[in-house]
């Protein structure tokens, strides 16, 4: 038994030190645990509400506007705003209305077809005005509303949020702690002891896994109980994926922080690394929107792998084999980043 004068093994002491630093920083606890839940709550409110979302349409005064207004108001969910031509352009630009109608024969629709809600508004408005002019419907379709848990947007977005948080807190908590210690010359002081460098990095990882339990647990419990998000697959597999993802992003965070001397420098590199993944890796919208040639690259990103795997398990009930490819991608990122970080790491 080694004499450590009452202290535990260095890995345990280093992990405890990191955990204490974290828990004694109330703001850090807020960002890691409560912020993801708040974000999920906001998205849940926005996207899980029953009833159809309203469509706002601008109407410019002109010949036949009373008749057009009457026709538009007869459509449930359509809200009509009377606007002057200048105000209408502004409202269109700001997204306050999805489309502007200038009555006349024929009437004119002004909208930006790139915006999805504008395209929707075009069909709703056109339908209402055509009918008012006497168009007959050939049939009345049967409508089945799909509101079962598991197929709503909020069900799709929760695994993405989970992945985004695992990335964000993983990279920030590690990168920040390392660069902070370096800028205060604490890393240099540690390098002057016989502390093993592998022990130091391992402790940062272990501490990271404890925070991970907090944040993933809080978000999953909230999603399950409040938003009624389903868990089609195994919770154990989701946890395993979360751990794998956390390790990959801890490695990436360590790599980004391996040489930076100041918090400002590391912040820039963190954003440089994370922002593309927020956009590309299917957090809030599917990565299928991006061109076909970019797909292999997008699929190789760690956040894409993590999000795809989490969705596969939570929504489709995939098993281990179903997410083996994603697991392999995350493992390669973990090993590669740590190996490289250990080589590049600057202790002073």
């Amino acid at each position: 038994m080694t004499d450590r004068g009452g202290a535990f093994h260095p890995v345990i002491e280093l992990t405890l030190a990191r955990l204490r630093e974290f828990l004694r920083e109330p703001e850090a606890v807020f960002w890691v645990v409560f912020f993801p839940v708040l974000l999920a709550f906001a998205l849940g409110l926005a996207f899980s509400g029953s009833g159809e979302p309203e469509i706002h349409v601008g109407l410019i005064p002109g010949q036949g506007d009373a008749r057009a207004r009457e026709a538009l108001l007869s459509v449930p969910g359509l809200v009509v705003h009377d606007l002057s031509p200048e105000a209408a352009d502004r409202a269109l630009r700001d997204g306050e209305v999805a489309l502007v109608v200038r009555p006349g024969s024929p009437p004119e629709y002004r909208f930006d077809p790139v915006r999805e809600e504008s395209r929707l508004a075009r069909f709703a408005v056109d339908d209402a005005l055509q009918r008012a002019e006497g168009r007959e419907d050939r049939f009345e379709p049967r409508i089945e509303r799909v509101e079962i848990p598991g197929s709503r947007y909020v069900d799709w977005v929760i695994p993405g949020l989970l992945g985004m948080n695992i990335m964000g807190t993983g990279m920030w908590s590690l990168g920040y702690a390392v660069v902070y210690a370096r800028s205060r010359r604490l890393l240099k002081r540690l390098a002057a002891t016989p502390m093993s460098r592998v022990h130091y990095l391992a402790a940062q990882m272990l501490a990271r896994l404890v925070f991970l339990g907090l944040e993933v647990g809080a978000l999953l419990v909230f999603a399950r109980l409040v938003l009624d998000v389903p868990m089609a697959g195994s919770l154990v597999l989701v946890s395993a994926l979360a751990v794998l993802g956390a390790l990959a992003f801890a490695g990436l965070g360590m790599l980004v922080a391996s040489r930076a001397r100041t918090i400002e420098a590391v912040s820039g590199w963190m954003n440089f690394t994370m922002v593309p993944m927020w956009v590309l890796s299917g957090v809030f919208f599917s990565s299928a929107h991006f061109p076909e040639v970019t797909q292999p690259l997008i699929n190789a990103l760690p956040l894409t792998a993590l999000n795809d795997a989490l969705r596969a398990v939570m929504l489709d009930g995939a098993g281990v084999q179903g997410v083996a490819g994603e697991g392999a991608i995350l493992t390669v990122w973990t090993v590669g980043c740590f190996g490289l970080a250990l080589r590049l790491f600057r202790w002073q």
Binding site: G6, P10, E13, K188, P194
Partner: protein, 261 residues
């Protein structure tokens, strides 16, 4: 250690050869770009002595001590600490040394006890965490966060972290800069207690009274070289009538012009 050894040849060899000096370096050189920080410096610190490196700002004291501590690689020259080299024996050597760096800020969120426990965990032997806390008289601050300590208390904690393994050689880089007279005197007491157990000290300082009261020998460093080396008393005596204190010696040797870092 030798008394436990049954190999008589080794015992004889140990008797014949004096133990290697605590610290020895020859022809040390280090430059940063165009700036020469250390320009061929030789030094030998004997076992059990307290050696002070004195010099104006920018003289190369910190670079020298960090090379000796194995934290910086010299451009040229040789370093031996306790007869061992940094390249091959770093891990073993670190177990036997105590190091205090200039301006290290320990983690503010940890308490005194937690910080000492952390540093103690890296070493295979030494006093207990409680004994270290007593040694630097921080018992009443044991549970206080580092961020709440005064300058003097932080410095004591920093010394405590360097003493957790009861080192054979203690390196201290400007240990008392910015401290009040009480804290400095307390620190000198801790140093004396350390030396009474046979420890060797190598420190850098700006304070001549400190060097005069705690150091057995001092080396005055200027422009990366040692320009004078002796006991404080001998240095003062050597100045004849003009010298009363080590400060007079220092100014006579390094000049009166201002130095910038």
């Amino acid at each position: 250690m030798y008394t436990l050894c049954h190999n008589h040849e080794v015992i004889d060899a140990a008797r014949l050869e004096p133990p290697p000096p605590a610290v020895a370096c020859r022809g040390l050189q280090k430059r940063y770009g165009d700036v020469v920080a250390v320009a061929g410096l030789d030094l030998e610190v004997r076992r059990g002595e307290c050696f002070g490196l004195l010099g104006p700002n920018g003289a190369g004291k910190t670079t020298t001590i960090e090379i000796l501590e194995g934290l910086l690689a010299p451009d040229a020259g040789e370093v031996e600490v306790l007869g061992l080299r940094w390249g091959r024996h770093a891990r073993a050597l670190r177990q036997r040394l105590g190091i205090q760096l200039q301006e290290t800020q320990l983690s503010e969120k940890l308490t005194v006890e937690e910080t000492i426990r952390l540093f103690r965990s890296f070493y295979r032997r030494g006093p207990s965490v409680d004994e270290v806390i007593q040694l630097v008289e921080l018992e009443s601050k044991r549970g206080s966060r580092v961020g709440k300590l005064s300058g003097g208390q932080r410095q004591r904690l920093s010394v405590a972290c360097a003493l957790v393994n009861q080192p054979e050689v203690l390196f201290l880089d400007e240990p008392t800069t910015g401290l009040d007279p009480q804290s400095r005197r307390h620190f000198w007491d801790v140093l004396r207690a350390f030396r009474s157990r046979g420890g060797t000290v190598l420190l850098t300082t700006h304070y001549m009274d400190e060097a005069q009261s705690v150091c057995d020998r001092v080396g005055i460093v200027d422009q990366g070289r040692i320009i004078a080396l002796d006991t404080p008393e001998a240095l003062v005596r050597g100045l004849g009538e003009a010298g009363k204190t080590l400060e007079d010696v220092f100014v006579a040797l390094t000049g009166r012009h201002l130095r910038d870092d």
